[in-house]
Amino acid sequence: MLYKILIEPFVFMGEAPDLLIQTLWEGLVSGVLYALIALGFVLIFKASGVFNFAQGIMVVFAALTLVGLYEKGVPAFLALILAAVTMLVLAVLVERIVLRPLVNQPDIILFMATFGLTYFLIGFGELIFGGNPKEMITDALFLPQGTTELDMLGGRVRLQHLDIAAAVIASIMIGLLAVFFSKTRIGRALRAVADSHKAALSVGISLNQIWVIVWFAAGIVALVAGIMWGARSGVSFSLQIIALKALPVLILGGFTSIPGAIIGGLIIGVGEKIGEFYWGPLVGGGVETWLAYVIALIFLLYRPQGLFGEKIIERI
């Protein structure tokens, strides 16, 4: 038994390096995709301390808007812009209706409010677009489709162009966001708001403005995530379930860190694929569902604030 747990998987890794590379690649790809969802969470959490339960449904909603508009005959890129505008409208409405009256309330209350928002968006989205799954308009958006097969290490590694594109787009977005939030005045204000609404108000930071900005940014991230996930597995309301995977990613990376979301995503993605692929069979597979959380938990025991999260200040 011990041999099976401790040795065999590694032997197998060595025997079939192509599969190992493929596994790593798949892990990286899902990691990037998880990270995209997690990023939306991070943005909002960073800026308002709100744990946005609605991020998953925002991903679906954004993608549905895009595809729905396209199906109505709107040209793809115009639809893309309109979808972005929709997310802006959503951000403004959320700020007006939900966040503004709930300023300075405990985190968990805001968390609950985003749950109300989720319910509302599910109902609203299905009312408008129907519950049917839709195909992402990959071609119209000029997303690459093919596969590159690399013969290496005595095997063959398949790289989907779509995945490569996802990785590239995600890196660009993350780069932009990281610069925007760390190098600008707004970035500092964001962290201030997350720290204390009350104090932020008192120094004249406009919470309203900040919130619209970050919710819009999160909406855009959701749109990108929606396009990427949609291209991979179709656009439907069941996509929101996947958003749950963003949780261990977030927790591992730290709620407030943009790089954390990425690294967390990659660790979780690779970790769970390797775990499932090499160790899963020992227990009949399907360990992927909880492995991510256990990985996150182990990291947390060493760093209770996640890898890159802000230190939890304990002072009295």
Binding site: V98, I109, F115, G116, F124, L247, F255, W290, I316
Partner: protein, 361 residues
Amino acid sequence: MLYREAGQFKTSYVADSAIFPLRQDRIGIGLIILAAYALAFIGNSFLLQAVMIPFLVFSLASIGLNILTGYTGLLSLGTGAFMGVGAYACYKLMTAFPEVNVIVWIFVSGFFSAAIGALFGLPSLRIKGFYLAVATLAAQFFLQWCFIRIPWLVNYNVSGALDAPLRTLFGIPIVGATATPQTRYLVVLTIVILLTWLASNLVHGRIGRMWIAIRDMDLAAELMGIRPLQTKLLAFAVSSYYCGVAGALLVFLWYGGAEYDVFNINQSFFILFMVIIGGLGSLIGSFFGAALIFILPIVLGIVLPAILSPFGISVGADVIEHLRFMIVGALIIFFLIVEPHGLARLWQIGKQKLLVWPFPY
């Protein structure tokens, strides 16, 4: 004039630290309990079976989670799984020892989830807040995986599901196909009242104060001699006990058979939202929350078509469902804005206003 504190003086600390010091409140509670029992004899089977039983079961689970999240301030997203542990434990116990009354096993099954809950509560010493949620999420997904993967848990049923064999109390079936909604309701009601009473004793005593202390200011609590780990683990255990019992009730007295799927993460969220909207740290809030989150959609499902049809708008079940989602979502936000501390606080403010009525303050 009916709701006045004046004239009710306490002459002993016992009377003053009673859980309902106000006579009106005591009478009110008595009346509500009476009415709840009376409902068994006047309510129709839909009301009992589809509304009241689940409402009570969810209230119990909410009380459980409220002990952990509301009173002790530890966020848990594993409620569904802890309920599941209770249900599976109860199933194993009642099929392994059919001669012991099922009520006993329902109570005993809670201890299994208490143990598992405490186990997953261990990281809470180091990990806090939303981060702690990951430990409970790990519990949620891991346990759920166990429910599917260990066929022993369901006695190797081909269906992979829990079923509810016939069990009786005083010769009257309470579990199984032939148990009537009425008897099930009475059993559930009695268990829920009993456990609520115990919970209320706990949270109003020393242990409750220790929990709240940990929640409000854990560092200060520790500096006052409260052992954080023990206190937190106790909260995890007690909370999971309640969830476990609720899980057993859910499967055997409500559904009468269920797949692992009813204990999924959505169930966890569902209960959490009941707790929040009802009021963190309030037992009565748990009931309010369960009512709002569980009963409101049902009422809407009945009321909406009735509202829309006079206008000649006949809409499909799906549109009703969409509207229902939207309205429930909007109402949650609305209630939070009106009173972020939940319905329980709203209730309290209402009572306070009643005390000073007719003056505004």
